[in-house]
Amino acid sequence: MRSAENIERLIKNVRYKTSAEMRKRTLNDASEAQSKSRKSKWAAAHSNIWRIIMTSKITKLSSAALIIIAVTAGIIHFSSSIDGGSIVFADVLKSIQEANTAVWHEQRVITCNGEELPFLTSDVVRYYSVEYGAKEEMYALKNILLQEVYWSIEKGARIEVAPLWKQYKRTEFTEAERTVGGRSIEAIVELVKSEQTTKLGSKTINGRKAEGFEIEDSKIAGALVPVEFDSLVARFWIDVETSLPIQYEAELVISDRHITTFTGGKAVEVKVIGDEFQWDVELGKDIFELNIPPDYTEMEY
């Protein structure tokens, strides 16, 4: 005899498997619809972007774009390790390591002379795993996957993949990267002891009480990023309850020659905001596995 609750549970939980043929057809049709919709929107919204890119000497543009990306990526790669070696800093590192994994969102806006470079403004999904390393997926122009970067602990290397240009670049970890990625709290504490930090006090972010720290012209950032920058200010907000990063903001001014070639000799400003942190989530190994298609070539810079 079934009770009303029992019937409710049955209705709630019943599942039914789609036939293999229908499953294949649905996935194919949905994928095709998605692709068509994306292509038509791309064509309508960005008809002049390709002309800009093609007339900007594609190789230099791609190199410059990728270096700018690498700068911001490098900065944020070490973003979880700022507080000048204080006890709070050690707590933060410990909490991060205990969390094992994280996913968060990052926005990067790049300007030159106050004018935004729209094709380099991007949204990024960042993944972090104590076990496998880190990865980011960078989307520009709202929906174009511009670049993926893998920081692979297994390979001891940073690998950048640019699908738009069908290029990739593998770089052995620098000492700083190896230290940050090497999961040794003591080593990272040593590394950041020399950093000058300023406490920013507390504020509420999305209902969570957070304490902020600011650094300027970091030496670690200098060791982690592949180009020289003129100035750097970064602010990190740590959740008081969990000791985990909840938000960060960074501003850099860069006049590295690779960039100034691209902007006609003018320095660029990079603004970065990281938020929507989700700690200790399930992230499979496949997210961090690198598969470079055979027709991709190595980047030249």
Partner: protein, 179 residues
């Protein structure tokens, strides 16, 4: 969390996210459609059409609740259209050929799962409003208030439909005689 990330990626055009969403909810949605239509073929068509439309308009997607509830509501809406189309077709056929096939009851493709088959048969015997209310509340995770608002009826009407529907289901599934 995963759904939030999947939607974010889907809006950026990720096919991987689309496939993951399909894999995650296809069984749930198909069972919901079968509960409403009691016909595997029609139910598969509904789920197919929901996903194709979902993929086409992903960048405009604005979720107020959860993804599972949203997709279930899409299935319910499309199933309702399908039922209406069948009813219109029935009227037309009856007018043209009074002795023709009776499609008032949905055609039953074989439902292999015995429990789902019994449930679908029982659901199929409910008035459509009751069936839909049950599916929206239990599988679409909609509150009675939200269902009342979306259907333009009072919350008492929705609660009654749910209660009567569930009572009848209970009788049918327990093998009792239903008047």
């Amino acid at each position: 969390m995963e759904d939030k990330l999947l939607i974010w990626k889907l809006k950026k055009g990720s096919n991987e996210a689309l496939c993951r969403i399909y894999e995650k909810y296809e069984e749930h949605l198909l069972a919901s459609a079968i509960s409403l239509l009691y016909d595997v073929g029609s139910a598969e068509d509904v789920v197919h059409d929901v996903f194709v439309t979902f993929a086409q308009s992903a960048d405009k997607l604005k979720l107020n609740g959860n993804l599972k509830g949203y997709l279930t509501r899409c299935v319910v809406n499309l199933a309702r259209d399908k039922i209406r189309a069948i009813q219109r077709r029935r009227i037309r056929l009856n007018e043209e050929n009074p002795a023709g096939p009776d499609i008032q009851q949905p055609s039953h493709a074989v439902i292999r799962d015995e429990e789902l088959d019994r449930l679908s048969q029982a659901m199929g015997s409910l008035p459509y409003e009751q069936r839909e209310t049950i599916v929206l509340h239990l599988r679409g995770e909609m509150t009675f208030k939200a269902i009342a608002k979306s259907h333009g009826v009072s919350i008492n009407t929705v609660c009654s439909r749910y209660r009567y529907g569930l009572t009848k289901l209970r009788s049918l599934l327990n093998g009792e005689v239903v008047k």
